[in-house]
Structures are given as structure tokens and as C-alpha cells.
Symmetry: C2
Subunit: 457 residues, 2 copies
């Protein structure tokens, strides 16, 4: 039995695989809206039945919210835990959709055929790529290629309230050699990616108080300290002239990019200009001497996400406010310690306060970066398998944002995660007219077949 027969079966069975995906897409499993609670349960049940039909020992497991689907099957090789989510985003504003979001269809577009429906890309289409690869294996060989645990969540689009408690309560049932997460993008249409570096996040809110009440700026401006000016100074001092962050010891634990990753990333030919032009910009800001990709994937940053103080309505009021506030987030990499950075940041703010000013801090989370141990041979195997399927070699990439489930797999289950997905940036996930390229679906199934083949040995 060779991989090529399995790939051939995937090609010839594609229409049936699409029919199955369409069935799942017809279930409006909007997790955030209680009106769709029964539909979420129905989507979980549909998946349980489908997994049972290909030999998994599958069950819908209750939580205080929507159920989890947990399935076990196969033996030998690398034990993988596959994670996806069957819930979808709400569909409003409905009038911006060109069709019923839960009446999926294949549509022809300038860029080829797409599957149009809510959840087509995020995440039903993506999770079915893995199940279809399993199905092809079972159909051709009578069994799964290796030991596989499947873990499908129904609350990803509503904050995953049950995820951590469920993982903690079922750690033994979920732990494997490596996790596979299918909820990310291709690097570009021809280049697959395994995300191996996820930045951490520290969220801080500052509330600076000067005078005990709002004052008239004509009567008090000058002698009375203005908290907006104090806050502006603190923000202005957060970076030095080279774009580096001035919090003491901030760069402890920030690794230099390895030559290996640097050359992989250079080979990606990332188009800085197009990336910036897309949002109306032309000149990279940020840390001097670092490429755009390096800044987003491998460097820590500090951003002000919100600021407010004084009178912000129409017209003008000559108020000298008592209070000014800002929300500031730090993205963290390597082994940067979010709690130490929080302490140092807060101390640095306090050190800059002029007389008569006080500051309150509100904590909005502090999570470290996840850096996968790519020395785990599963990473090299998956990378080679993806490279075989796609026009360009696969790359180990970073992610600017945070993907909490990968962090939980590490901290709760002590597993590295391979984040491999086939979505495109233009899939309009969370927006009207969501789609998944037929090519993503087809080559996604083939990609998983190749990866599972590589991990079966």
C-alpha cells in the first residue's frame, strides 16, 4: 500500500468529501448565541457519527457550555492529537451576504472555485481536511495510519470557557506525542507553513490621576498637573529612538533569530511593501534593523491600544481632567517572563510620575510566548510532507497574534503543537461571504495524508 494510492483515492472521492462538508456546513452551530445551542449539539453529534463511521471510538462529551468531541483510533507511529472547532461565528449583518450563510454552495470566482458558507474556512472546512485524510487511509488500508486522538471544541468563537477545565479534567485522555492544530493560514497560495513561534501577550491598563476633580484649564492650567500630559510623556518614553522598548530588562529572554530560520524566512520572499500598502502605509516603522516579518514573528513589541482623557465629544471644553487612561499591550517572544515585565513596566511608570500624580494598574492578562521544540522529529517530517504537496517548500513561521490553545497544550498537556492550516488571508472569516478555496480543501486533505504517512513510521 503506497501513499500514492491514498492520494488518488482522495482525488477521486473529492465530490463525496465536499458533500459531507456541505452537510456539516448546513448546521448553524453559532456558539455565542443561545438560540443555536441545539444546533451546536447537532454538529457535535454529526461529527461523532462521522468519526465512528471510519472506525474512531468517538463521543460527544458534555461541558457547562457546548459539548467537546473526543475520539480515539489507530495505533503505532507518532501519537497525534488533532484539534479543530465545529462552532462558527455569527452571520450578521445578514444583508451583506450574497447567499444564505448556511446554504453552502460551490461558486466560481476569478481565483478559482470556492466553498461559500459560514464556517467553510473557520473551521469546519479545515477540520474536515484531517478527517477526510483519515477516511482515505481507512478506505484503502482498513485502518488509521497511526495512533490518533481527535479533540473538537464547540466554543472557540465564544471565548473557550470550558476548554481549560476540560483539558485539566481529561489530561490523560488527551495527551499525545504532538498536537496538530488546523486553524491557520497558508503563508501564501503556494507556500505551506508550520507555525512554531507564537508570541505571548501582556495587557496592562493605566489610570493616572492628577487633580482630585476636573478643573477649568483657564483657572488651573500650568500650576495644576495635567494627567493627559503625564500619560503622553510615559507613552512617548516607552520606546527609544531606535524603536526598542525602554522597560528595564525587557529584552531578557529574547533570542536572536537562528540562521536557519532567518534563511527560511528570507526564502519566503515576504513583500513588505504590499503588506504595508494594504493598510495605507509605505514605510516600515518599529525596531530599527529588523525586517517586518522578524518584527511580527520574532520580536517583542509594545503598542498603545487605547487612550482617553478629558473631553472627547463634539466641540470644545476647556477642562483640565482629573484622570487619563491608556491600554497598553506587550507581545512577548522566547522566554520573556510576562510577570517580571509587568513588574518592571509598572515600576518604570511609577518612576516617571511627577509629584501629586498617582497611578492604578488593571491587569488584562499575562501569557508567555510559545516556542515549539522543532527538534521534535515530527516537525521535520511534517515539513517535508508539506513540501512534497505544494509548489514551494514549507516554512517554519511565527505568528504575530496569540493562539491560546497551543499555549494550553504546552502548559497543561506538555505537548508541542504543529499549527498547520490551508486557509487564505482573503477567506473573510468572521465576515460576510466567508469562503474556503476548493484547492485549500483538496490539497489540505492530501497534505494531511502525506503528514500522517510520515508520522506513521
Amino acid at each position: 500500500m503506497t501513499l500514492s494510492t491514498i492520494l488518488t483515492r482522495i482525488d477521486t472521492d473529492l465530490d463525496n468529501a465536499l458533500d459531507r462538508l456541505m452537510e456539516l456546513l448546513r448546521i448553524p452551530s453559532i456558539s455565542t448565541d443561545p438560540a443555536y445551542k441545539a444546533d451546536c449539539a447537532r454538529a457535535a453529534d454529526w461529527l461523532v457519527e462521522d468519526l465512528k463511521s471510519i472506525g474512531f471510538d468517538a463521543a460527544s462529551r458534555p461541558t457547562p457550555g457546548h459539548p467537546m468531541v473526543v475520539a480515539h483510533g489507530g495505533e503505532g507511529g507518532t501519537h497525534v492529537l488533532f484539534y479543530g472547532h465545529y462552532d462558527v461565528q455569527p452571520v450578521d449583518p445578514l444583508n451583506l451576504w450574497n447567499r444564505d450563510p448556511f446554504d453552502p454552495a460551490i461558486e466560481e470566482t476569478d481565483k478559482g472555485k470556492v466553498i461559500r458558507a459560514r464556517g467553510a474556512s473557520d473551521d469546519k472546512g479545515q477540520l474536515m481536511t484531517f478527517i477526510e485524510a483519515c477516511r482515505a487511509y481507512v478506505a484503502e488500508t482498513g485502518k488509521l495510519p497511526c495512533k490518533i486522538t481527535i479533540f473538537l471544541e464547540g466554543e472557540e468563537e465564544s471565548g473557550s470557557p470550558s476548554l481549560v477545565p476540560f483539558m485539566e479534567a481529561n489530561a490523560k485522555d488527551l495527551t499525545a506525542d504532538v498536537a496538530l492544530i488546523c486553524d491557520t493560514d497558508l503563508f501564501d497560495a503556494n507556500t505551506p507553513a508550520i507555525t512554531t513561534m507564537l508570541r505571548g501577550l501582556l495587557g496592562e491598563e493605566l489610570v493616572i490621576t492628577g487633580p482630585s476633580k476636573d478643573l477649568h484649564s483657564g483657572s488651573y492650567g500650568g500650576p495644576a498637573i495635567n494627567p493627559i500630559r503625564v500619560l503622553s510623556n510615559i507613552i512617548a518614553n516607552l520606546h527609544d529612538d531606535t524603536g526598542r522598548i525602554t522597560v528595564p530588562d525587557f529584552y531578557d529572554g529574547v533570542p536572536e533569530l537562528s540562521d536557519e530560520l532567518r534563511s527560511q524566512w528570507e526564502a519566503l520572499g515576504f513583500d513588505d511593501k504590499a503588506f504595508l500598502a494594504d493598510v495605507g502605509l509605505s514605510t516600515p516603522a518599529g525596531e530599527a534593523g529588523k525586517t517586518v516579518l522578524e518584527q511580527i514573528w520574532a520580536r517583542p513589541t509594545a503598542e498603545v491600544n487605547g487612550i482617553t482623557g478629558g473631553y472627547t465629544g463634539d466641540g470644545f471644553k476647556t477642562v483640565l481632567p482629573s484622570v487619563a487612561k491608556a491600554k497598553i499591550s506587550f507581545r512577548l517572544v522566547g522566554t520573556q517572563d510576562p510577570l517580571k515585565i509587568r513588574d518592571n513596566f509598572r515600576q518604570r511608570v511609577r518612576d516617571q510620575l511627577p509629584p501629586d500624580c498617582s497611578v492604578e494598574f488593571h491587569d488584562h492578562g499575562a501569557g508567555p510566548a510559545s516556542v515549539m521544540a522543532t527538534t521534535n522529529p515530527a516537525f521535520a517530517a511534517a515539513r517535508a510532507a508539506l513540501t512534497d504537496e505544494w509548489p514551494n517548500p514549507a516554512a517554519f513561521t511565527g505568528s504575530g497574534g496569540s493562539i491560546p490553545v497551543a499555549g494550553y497544550f504546552k502548559t497543561i498537556l506538555d505537548m508541542d503543537s504543529m499549527l498547520i492550516g490551508f486557509a487564505m488571508e482573503d477567506d473573510s472569516i468572521h465576515s460576510p461571504n466567508e469562503k474556503y478555496d476548493l484547492r485549500s480543501f483538496h490539497k489540505g486533505i492530501r497534505s494531511w495524508a502525506r503528514i500522517l504517512d510520515a508520522l506513521s513510521n
Copy 2:
């Protein structure tokens, strides 16, 4: 006929003067609420009749809003224009009043007797001090002490929409040698003041745009410029380390305080500590080497009155916003040119913009400072007269805020104004339980009698 007989008459007639004030206070002339339109007209008519009763040629003059009262009388001496306003602030929240705001009464307090009613201080009590002084003159001498024009507005508490057009249309009828404005405070309970320096005001709103839309700070933070950070830098750079404003040529036209005024102000014994402690502060901020009084009365300042950008609601969103905004006001002194400063400020902001950022400015007014020509002998005469009446010598003072009518008297009628008032800071004008000290009323009438006596020669 000596001044002392007139002062004696004022003392003996005080109860009758109070009765007249009470009558006026019973008219609920709330100018901003259309429900009280007839009451405003009634207050104007009451004043016309009262002025006629003491020999003025008085009339209620229509405007598109509430009427103006204009009265002429007397001859010789210095021709004065007296300004006050007969309209009052709304009274809500009514439940915080200890009595009906339009049922005035004399109340005993820890600090002495007060007249309690809406408008008692602002401005019916104050304007009646002048009319009662005129009445005492007429009663004792059969005529007014000098040429007097009286100009009473009924829209001061609702933005004075008719004031400028009326002044322009009736310039000849209103012009005098000097204006007297009775709508300000004593410096303190024992120290009268003539406000001779009113700061100007330049209001500017900045809207800074970076990316063309709000971005995810994880995906774009660093390479994409953040307009909140740009704005914070601009605000941080608005002052240097000594608290001076860095707009080019900003201090052109800022006079040094004269030795004469400096020693007058030092003699006032202004309590910096108490002034700041009242609003929860202990350390004077602002321009190095300048006293608190000098900063507020005689130095230009720049304050941020409002700032907003990004996510400002509850919780946290990792947005990198497209836009950040601030409202900034400059208080101007001497001959500072607001239009030149506006140009220089805007250019300085543009000079600090990084690539890909743009700025829009919104104009919120630009008025120069008013500095009275205290060489006009009326000023020295009034100061001496006030000094005779009160325990402490009168001072020429400044005002941190702006009093637009004084500016209009200068620009439209080419008259300097003497702002002389007897209100106390604790009069609760614009608030529940407004009061006017009986002492303010009584010594206010006596003060005007002395001033008119001085100006009659």
C-alpha cells in the same frame, strides 16, 4: 453734598435695597429654557421701570432672543458704560436646593448673613449694587454723579447670541469712556480687585491618521505606525523641561510682569498651597520660576483638554487604531498673535509627523488677550475708591479665563473695561443654593458710590 452723606443713605436704605433685589430675584429669568421667555421679558421690564424711577431714560430693546436693557442718564465727568446681566442659570437639580430658588430669603450662616436665591450673586445681586449706588446719588443730590449708560443683557447664561450683533448695530448708543463690568469676584473677603488682564484663547483639535483602518496589534504592531504613539510624542514635545512651550516664536508679545504689578500681586499674599490643596495637589507644576498667580494671570499656557484613540471601553481589545485625536488649548497674554501661533503650532505638528501619518486640524476659536490700558486715570481713581471702602488695598489682577464681553467692548466699541465685582468664590453660582453675602451687597453699593464719586470729577 459729600460722599459721606451718600454712604450714610446707602447704610440706612439697605433694607429697602434688599426688598428691591428680592423682587427681581423672584422673577425666574432662566434664559436658556424657552418656558421662561416671558419671565426674561418681565425681568427686563422690571429693570426699565426701576431705572426710570431714578431718572434714567431706559428701554427694553428687542433682539432675536431676550431683550437688552439700555438706559442713559446724567452728564459730565467720566462717561461710564455699566454692564450686567439679568438672566440666570437653570436651577436643576432642584432637590439639592434647601429652599425654592425663586423665593429669596436672608439666611444666617457661619460666615454671616447671605441672600439665598438663584441669581443672588450671578448677576442680579451684583448689577443691583450699581443701580442702588445710582439711586442713593439721585436721592441725595437730585441727579446722577456723571454720564452713565447702563447695558443689561438677558442671554449671558445661554451663550450671548445677540450680544455682538446688538453691539455692532448700536455702537454709538453704547460707546463711553470706559466700561464697568460687575460679574467677577473679590480677590478675597477683604481685598477688592479690578481685573485688568484677561487671557486670550486658541483652541485646536488634532486628528492624526496612520493606517487606513484599525488593525490587529499582533499582526501589525511594530511595522505599522500607531497614531496614539505619534500623538503622545507631539504632546510630550509641546513643553520643554522647564515647562516652556516649544511652538516657534510662541513667546513673541509676552510681556514681562511690571515691577508695579509684581509688588501689588505679592502684597495679595495669595496662598499657593491652599489653592492647590483645594484640588488635591501640593506641588506647583508649570513654568519654572513663575509664581502660581503669575502663571494663571500673566503667562501663556498650553493644555490638553481631551484625548482619545483606539479602544476605550471596558476590558481590552488589541487594536492598533487608524486615528487618534486631541483637543489642545493655548491661553494667550500680552500681544501674542493667536493666528500666527495657530500657524506655527500646526507647522510644528506637521514637522513631527513620521512617514505615512497625516493630520487634520479643527479650529475651535482664536481670540487675543485683553490688556486694559490702566494708564486711563479711571483705573487709578477706581482703585483708590475701592481701597477706601475695603480693609485691604485694591489690586489690579489678571484672570485665567476669558470674559468675552470685555473683548467685545475693546474690539467693537474701542473701550477698556474695569471688571469690578463683589462675589465670593463660595457663592455657588451655577449650582444649587446660590447665595450672595449681605456684606458683598452692602459694601458693593458703597464701593460703586465711591467709584462714581471719583469718576464724577
